[in-house]
């Protein structure tokens, strides 16, 4: 049976702070939440639209260099991506494809966690480690609440 909440963390675990998404999922896995399914991949592609089907809600987690705060929680909406690469999609572009192919997507959110160093073979930087801890606290709170209005309050609080 499809879990109501999909949490999808993406990034390359071998590239320093790009591992933030997958590492947060590892922490979350330990909580063994019954209504949550956890998925991870190196990057988003159009096939991941199928992972969104049948969900009540979706949360993407990604490392970000442009995030000004240690972490940011926001609501996502479908948006066409003009980037020409076929290798990777933004979560907004994935939602856009979802709308084109399957109709209205489930309410979707993004947790961005600030990273600094994405070099190949590097481990998590000191600041990213702190950001990971801080964002995990928020993640636990989010996951414990199923009410959509509560999630929206978390967005506003950001």
């Amino acid at each position: 049976m499809t879990a109501s909440l999909l949490i999808f963390g993406y990034g390359n675990p071998s590239r320093g702070d790009d591992a933030l998404g997958p590492l947060l999922l590892e922490r979350l896995q330990e909580l063994d939440l019954p209504h949550v399914e956890i998925l991870t991949d190196f990057q988003l592609q159009v096939e991941h639209a199928l992972d969104l089907q049948g969900r009540e809600r979706v949360l993407f987690i990604d490392a970000s260099v442009s995030c000004s705060k240690p972490y940011a929680f926001s609501r996502l909406y479908a948006q066409k991506d003009t980037s020409y690469t076929s290798h990777v999609m933004s979560p907004m572009a994935l939602l856009y494809s979802y709308v084109q192919l399957y109709g209205d997507p489930p309410p979707t959110y993004l947790l961005q966690v600030r990273g600094e160093c994405f070099a190949l073979g590097e481990s998590l930087s000191a600041s990213a480690t702190i950001n990971l801890e801080a964002s995990f606290n928020l993640l636990q709170k989010i996951c414990s609440k199923t009410d959509l209005s509560v999630w929206e309050q978390f967005v506003i609080a950001q």
Partner: protein, 493 residues
């Protein structure tokens, strides 16, 4: 052949056009053209600009680490590298793998073929084939297909996703799993996993049949154009079974020449170096393999779906064999040389992979625990499979301490190096010679390269800002035209 365009006689007097990077392929490469004042082509080269050092940095590592390490060569076909390395390591540990392990490896391999072929056709090539080679650049991508052909996009998404699920369940992960190990596999397929895949497989076969129909319709709508586009005669090489059947996992090497005459057949790949030599060219990091009995100049060949469908005597699954016969009849009852026929052959193979998956899922052996075997240790191992893009050779030598001392990898794109260059030259002569440069015309060259589905390097490289810049410089070194594509896809002069 147009090989005379490999090196211009007086390059210093010619203007240089560069296509960099080549898009909608795996990895990074570029094309350079040298034109005279009247835009006549004097030199055309397809360069692989990345350096792949795996042969060097596996040296000194324990042999059993290698099947995991070499997966990092590629984010699209890691299973292929894992399997080829494991087949080589089977030899090193003297293992004759169990029938159960053989079937599980074949299952993961067919998942790999399915997802890779779906990725290539629907993501990379269908925009060219459906919108046109010189259509609006803004639409020529998977998002354009999603908007304009949602049914086809849904088909592609479902097929690739299923292939990824097969890989996930047989190797533990969608990308870079570790199902195959030296001597066998490390997990079987549970009944629950089998039933999950069985639920979808009939639909996947049906979608694969539709994909064959789609390329057939596209191809036959402009048969003459598709037959002639970037076409030339060459030899083909692939693995086949003892009975001549297509087999993407194991077999002997078969090569046929440009007139479909056998060069060699059922060759034990453990002696591949007697039948394939490699030549180094100063302008590319990639070697140029050739068949020595035909010589350096004429001995190059093609591998991949077209080579396999052309070379095999039959495909051992019902629906794909029917399509192979149709394809063959369409091509006049013989092997076809058409570059764009790669797409059709690729979809026939995708259908074959789906059929094999169904056959394997019905086999109770997949739930057995007879997974690993071993034997007497050897110091050398060679593993060869037919990866999605073509014949993949892994060759290792170890020392008494079980460390790798030598490695040689010949990947499909390396086999096709000279063939891709030939296709580039053909298209340059057919469409660019004497013409005013345009993005649409340059895309014709990329279309020819894409037909081979080249994997220029690992798809898990960092996605950086990859601007495309094309410059047209006259014989005096002055820039007469310049086109820049930014990383957001926008064009500017």
């Amino acid at each position: 052949m147009s090989s005379e365009l490999e090196t211009a006689a007086n390059p210093e007097n010619l203007k240089r056009v560069v296509i960099e990077p080549v898009t909608r392929v795996e990895g990074h490469g570029k094309v350079t053209l040298l034109l005279d004042d009247n835009n006549h082509v004097h030199q055309a080269r397809f360069h692989i600009v990345e350096f792949r050092g795996f042969e060097k940095f596996v040296q000194g590592r324990p042999f059993w680490e290698v099947p995991v390490m070499v997966q990092r060569l590629c984010g699209i076909c890691p299973v292929s590298h894992n399997l080829a390395a494991c087949k080589a390591m089977d030899m090193i540990i003297g293992a004759k793998i169990t029938p159960v392990a053989d079937k599980l490896r074949r299952l993961m391999h067919m998942g790999q073929i399915l997802q890779s072929h779906a990725l290539h056709f629907f993501h990379f090539s269908s925009p060219d084939l459906l919108f046109g080679f010189d259509s609006d650049i803004g639409k020529r991508n998977i998002t354009g297909i999603v908007e304009s052909y949602p049914d086809i996009a849904r088909q592609g998404v479902a097929l690739r996703k299923f292939g990824q699920e097969v890989i996930h369940l047989t190797t533990g992960k969608r990308v870079h799993g570790t199902g195959a190990i030296p001597g066998g596999v490390n997990k079987n397929l549970s009944l629950e996993e089998r039933d999950y895949l069985l639920k979808e497989i009939d639909q996947v076969i049906s979608l694969s049949q539709s994909a064959v129909e789609l390329i057939k319709t596209i191809y036959s709508a402009r048969t003459d154009f598709h037959n002639k586009f970037g076409s030339y005669r060459s030899s083909f090489m692939s693995l086949v079974r003892e009975n001549g059947a297509m087999d993407l996992y194991h077999g002997g090497l078969r090569a046929k020449d440009e007139f479909n005459q056998t060069i060699f057949d059922h060759i034990d790949y453990n002696q591949y170096w007697d039948y394939i030599h490699e030549e180094v060219k100063s302008w590319s990091y990639m070697k140029c393999p050739f068949i020595p009995s035909k010589g350096r100049k004429e001995g190059w060949y093609r591998v991949g779906p077209l080579a396999r469908v052309n070379n095999c005597d039959f495909i051992p699954t019902l629906l794909a064999e029917k399509e192979r016969k149709t394809f063959r009849e369409f091509c006049g009852g013989s092997a076809t040389q058409a570059t764009l026929a790669y797409h059709w052959a690729r979809m026939i193979e995708m259908l074959h992979a789906a059929e094999v998956i169904k056959e394997l899922l019905d086999d109770a052996d997949l739930q057995s625990d007879d997974l690993v075997s071993s034997g007497e240790r050897n110091l050398r191992g060679v593993g060869v499979i037919e990866a999605p893009r073509g014949t993949l050779i892994h060759h290792y030598r170890i020392n008494e301490d079980e460390q790798i001392v030598r490695a040689n990898l010949i990947v499909a794109t390396t086999h096709n190096n000279q063939a891709m260059n030939e296709a580039v030259r053909r298209v340059a002569l057919q469409y660019l010679d004497g013409q005013q440069i345009s993005e649409g015309l340059l895309n014709h060259i990329e279309v020819a390269i894409r037909a081979f589905d080249p994997c220029l390097s690992c798809a898990t490289h960092a996605i950086g800002k990859m601007p495309l810049e094309v410059e047209l410089i006259d014989a005096n070194g002055s820039q007469i035209q310049r086109l820049i594509k930014d990383s957001d896809g926008r064009y500017r002069i």
